[in-house]
Symmetry: C2
Subunit: 379 residues, 2 copies
C-alpha cells in the first residue's frame, strides 16, 4: 500500500532541510508556514489569494468543524479542501487543544475528553478513535493524533502522566485509522523537562506515524525553554520524516526552528495580529493605528510586493483600520501571510544553497537594526 504522503528531502544545511511534501492534494515545498483556517476559512482571505501567494497547505481545526457544520456535512461536500474551495492540501488538528482551551471540560481520563460545546453547551466526547474518525470524515491530507497538550507550568509528575497518556492515545489513534490516503502524525509532549521529551520522542517515534510534531510549546513557557525543548524534540525525530512545530510562532521563531530541522509551522499570529492592525514587515512590526502613519504615503513594507504594499499607503491603511473597514483586515492579513510565505521561500532557497546560517544571521541583524528604531516593535 502506497504511503498517504511522501516527504522528499531536496537539500540539507546543518539540521535544516528543504523538501517537498507530496500529498493527495498536491505538493507542498517545505519549510512551510500553514495559515490557520479555523472554521474552513483563513479569516479575511479568499482561497485563491492563498494559492496566489504560494500557500499549498492550510490548517483547519477539527474541533470547530466537528461542532459546525459537522464532519458529516464536510464529508458529503467532498472533504474540507473542496468544501472551502482551496486547491491545495489541508492539515487538521485533532480537536484536543480547542476542546481543552475553548470548551468547558467535564473530564479528561483514560477514555478521552468529555466537554461542553462553546457554541451551545451540548455535552460531547472526544477520544483518540473519534478524533481520527472525525478527521477522516473531514478528509484532510494530514491528521493529528489526539494528545493532551500539557499546560504550563506543570510539575514533573503531572507532565509525565500527561505524556504517558498521550502515548497510549497515540497507539489507539493509529489502530483506529482506516484511511489509506490521509497521513497521521504523532505528537511529542513532555513539557519543559528534557527527560520527558526524550521518553516521549522514543515512545511516539517507535509508532508507525507518517510524521512527527512537537506539541505543548508556546503555551506560556519562557522563550529560551521553548527553543530548547523544540530543538531537543526535533533532534529525536527520524531524519526522513516531516517535522511539525505546533503553534509557533514569530518570524524570528520560524527562522530559529527551521535551523533545528522543522518543516511545518502554524500560528495565528500573522492573521490575528493583522485584524488587530499589526503588520510584520522587513523593518519590524508596524502598528498601523499609530498616529505617526496619519500622513505616511509609503507602503506598509517598502520591500514587499504584495497587493497591499503595491496598492495602498500607510495613511490609507490607517484610515481603513480606524474606520473599522473590512478591507483593513483583508489587506493586513494578506500582507502578513505574504511576509511569512516569503520568509519560508527565503529559507528554502538558503537551505538549497547551503547559506542558511547567513540568512539566519542577516535576519537577526535586521531585527537588532529595527530594535534600535522602534524598541517595542521588534519582530
Amino acid at each position: 500500500m502506497a504511503a498517504p504522503i511522501r516527504f522528499e528531502v531536496r537539500a540539507r544545511d546543518g539540521a535544516a532541510r528543504a523538501a517537498t511534501l507530496v500529498t493527495a492534494h498536491g505538493e507542498v515545498p517545505t519549510p512551510a508556514f500553514m495559515p490557520v483556517g479555523t472554521r474552513a476559512a483563513v479569516k479575511a482571505m479568499s482561497p485563491d489569494e492563498l494559492i496566489a501567494m504560494g500557500c499549498r497547505l492550510v490548517l483547519a481545526n477539527a474541533y470547530h468543524l466537528a461542532l459546525r457544520p459537522g464532519p458529516e456535512l464536510v464529508e458529503q461536500m467532498g472533504g474540507v479542501a473542496r468544501f472551502m474551495g482551496f486547491k491545495g492540501a489541508v492539515l487538521t488538528d485533532s480537536g484536543g487543544f480547542q476542546a481543552m482551551s475553548l470548551a468547558k471540560i467535564n473530564s479528561i481520563d483514560e477514555h478521552g475528553i468529555v466537554f461542553r460545546s462553546h457554541l451551545d453547551g451540548s455535552r460531547l466526547a472526544l477520544t483518540p478513535e473519534s478524533a481520527v474518525r472525525i478527521q477522516e470524515q473531514l478528509g484532510s491530507d494530514i491528521m493529528m493524533s489526539l494528545d493532551e497538550c500539557t499546560s504550563y507550568p506543570v510539575d514533573h509528575a503531572r507532565a509525565k502522566a500527561s505524556m504517558e497518556l498521550t502515548a497510549r492515545w497515540a497507539r489507539r489513534g493509529l489502530e483506529a485509522r482506516r484511511s489509506a490516503t490521509q497521513a497521521l502524525f504523532g505528537i511529542v509532549q513532555g513539557s519543559v523537562y528534557p527527560d520527558l521529551r526524550r521518553t516521549s520522542a522514543e515512545q511516539i517515534t517507535a509508532l508507525p506515524f507518517d510524521g512527527f510534531a512537537a506539541g505543548g510549546l508556546s503555551v506560556g513557557e519562557p522563550k529560551p525553554a521553548m527553543l530548547e525543548m523544540a530543538a531537543l524534540s526535533a533532534s529525536l525525530m527520524p531524519a526522513d520524516s516531516p517535522h511539525y512545530l505546533m503553534g509557533v510562532g514569530t518570524p524570528a521563531d520560524l527562522i530559529a526552528c527551521v535551523a533545528m530541522g522543522y518543516d511545518l509551522f502554524d500560528c495565528v499570529l500573522p492573521t490575528r495580529n493583522a485584524r488587530n492592525g499589526s503588520a510584520f514587515t522587513s523593518e519590524g512590526r508596524v502598528s498601523i493605528k499609530h498616529s505617526r502613519y496619519l500622513r505616511d504615503e509609503r507602503p506598509l513594507d517598502p520591500r514587499c510586493t504584495c497587493r497591499c504594499c503595491t496598492g495602498f499607503s500607510r495613511a490609507y491603511l490607517r484610515h481603513l483600520y480606524v474606520s473599522g473597514e473590512i478591507l483593513a483586515a483583508r489587506a493586513l492579513t494578506e500582507h502578513n501571510l505574504f511576509f511569512y510565505a516569503g520568509l519560508m521561500r527565503e529559507a528554502q532557497a538558503a537551505i538549497a544553497s547551503r547559506t542558511y546560517d547567513a540568512l539566519s544571521k542577516a535576519f537577526a541583524a535586521g531585527i537588532s537594526e529595527v530594535s534600535e528604531q522602534a524598541k517595542d516593535h521588534v519582530v
Copy 2:
C-alpha cells in the same frame, strides 16, 4: 476651457441611452451602477476587484470623508481615487444627506446646515460653498451640489420651500466652484408633487451644471410614486447631459429607470444586503442563512461567473455566514456587485441593439417566475 467631463451618447432606444462618460480618471460606459464606497472603501471589496468586474465609477460620501480622515489629508494624498487605490473615477455626494440623516442637526437655514458630528459631537457647518470646496479637496470627478433632500411625507408648502432653497443653494455652489477638472451636478427636488418637480427641473436645468440628478426619492414614498417622479424628472432633463437617479435601487428599479433615460445609479442595497447574507441572483433573492441551503452544493447563482459562484457552494457560503466569517461578506458583496454590473452591461447591449424593451419584459417575466417559487424573495 474644456469641459470637466464629456458625455458621448452611442445609442438610444426610446428614452434609454447607452453612452460613455469621459472623466479625468477614465471612461465610464453607461448605464452604470456606482458601488457605494462610503469612507473611501467599498465595504469588503478591494479596489482591483471592482476594476476586474468592470466597475469604473464609485461613489464616496463627502460627509464621512470630511469628518475622517478630513479633506485636507485626502487632497494631500492625491485625491480620493488615488487615496483608495482605485484606478477609476469617483463621484462624491455633497454631504448634505448624511448631515441630515446621521448627524444631530442644530439648524438648517438659508446659510446652510449646522450639525454635530456623529463621531465626536463636534459642531460643524455645511454650506453650498463649503460642500463644493470639500469635494474639490477630495478631488472627485463628479461633485454634487448641496441640496435639501426633502423628507417624506411632507406637505406641498414645505416641499416647495425646500425645493426653492435647493435652487438657491445650487446657484451658490456653482459660483463657489473653482476646479476646471471636476464636474458639478445639480439636483432636482420637489418630493412627490409633479408641479414642484417641474419647477425644480426648470430652475436647476437653467443653471450651467455638467449633469443632473433626481434626488429626494427612495426616502419612504410608495414605489409607484417613486417611479412616477423619477420618470417625470428624467423627462425634464436636457437630453445631452448625464442623468443620475440618486439612491435607487433594486435590480427591477434599475431596469425600469434606465428606460426613463437615467445613466447613473447608486444604492447601498447590493453591498449592505450582502453583509446581511442576502444575494441578488438570476433566480431572485437568496437569503443564504436559510437552513434549506445547509447541504446545497450548487453555486449561489448557477448562471453567474463571478469568483463567488465559480468557487463556493451555497452550503459553504451558509457555513461562512453562520460562522461570522469575513469571507461571507466578501463573497456575497462581490457576487451582488457583479450581478448589478452584469445587469448594466446587459442594459448597455440591449440599448445598442434597440432591444431594451425585450430585456425589460424578460426581466419582469423572470421576476414573476421567481415570485411563484419564493414569494418573499422577489428581486
